[in-house]
Symmetry: C2
């Protein structure tokens, strides 16, 4: 299959490159958005690379002091950070499996890269789109933190207004 | 080429159908969004139909009375409506030309339908997506009336929040 591989490589060099950022998190909706993207947007007519981006929200730092001192001791914060890292890993594993299952055959399997970054989802996603010089951003419309959304408004809304690339907002049908 | 045509028809019957609504208006940005859609989203792997939707905003009805009676006489309103109809027609012609130029070869030329409806762009686009049971909505992020946007917020924002289908918001690079 060496010749076939060389031919495929030559063909893929002629195709237009696209860098697609997909924002993923714990929500089913973001996995649905990824699935939708693989089925509807990723195309063998392009040389697509998928960047799975996960915002690892740092634990909130409480400066309020109650009777027992700071609300969270450094031990608890360390535990929460470790937990956050494990969640990030599990989200990425799930996302990569979806890419393997839907991302074309062995020869033209889609290229997938992952990025985990600390920070608020709004900032991380917008910065990553810019830094990776992405051609498209794909994201779900919900998720990315229920409580935060109530206070700060929708993450997808924020990103749609702030990134320069086209933005695909995918809703999971109820 | 009758056999080829039949084979193509049989092949297209096996493909998944997608109904893509593209919101168009006088703005260059909406034409850019349409172009982007044809290049990046429309795919020969699907049996795609494009619905070009244009919201024909009715002239504002002024109820304020000045010295000379109502601000606009019925004559002027009729002239504005005629003008609106002509704008709609010219937008659709431009959009259809883009579809012909980019919508594939003669054999698999993409199917295009047009819909012009009176009303505010927000309402027209959202209603049309629902009525046509669209799978995807594509729109620019600007346009659809500068002054209205300042008062009522972005049309794309409103639609992204209110339609059930995935929404692609395309910005024209500066």
């Amino acid at each position: 299959m060496a010749e076939g591989g060389a031919a495929a490589a030559a063909a893929s060099e002629n195709k237009e490159e696209r860098r697609i950022v997909v924002a993923v998190d714990e929500s089913e909706e973001s996995m649905y958005a990824l699935t939708w993207c693989l089925k509807n947007l990723v195309s063998s007519n392009f040389n697509d690379t998928l960047f799975l981006v996960y915002a690892n929200n740092p634990p909130p730092v409480y400066t309020a002091v109650d009777g027992s001192g700071y609300l969270f001791s450094s031990d608890i914060i360390a535990t929460m950070e470790r937990y956050g890292g494990e969640v990030a890993e599990s989200v990425m594993e799930k996302a990569k499996k979806i890419c393997r299952d839907l991302g074309g055959g062995d020869d033209d399997q889609i290229k997938v890269e992952t990025r985990v970054e600390r920070g608020d989802a709004r900032d991380v996603i917008c910065k990553m789109v810019e830094r990776l010089n992405a051609d498209i951003l794909v994201m779900g419309s919900h998720g990315y933190g229920l409580i935060k959304r109530a206070f700060l408004g929708s993450v997808s809304n924020h990103c749609a207004q702030n990134v320069k690339s086209p933005v695909m907002i995918v809703k999971k049908p109820k």
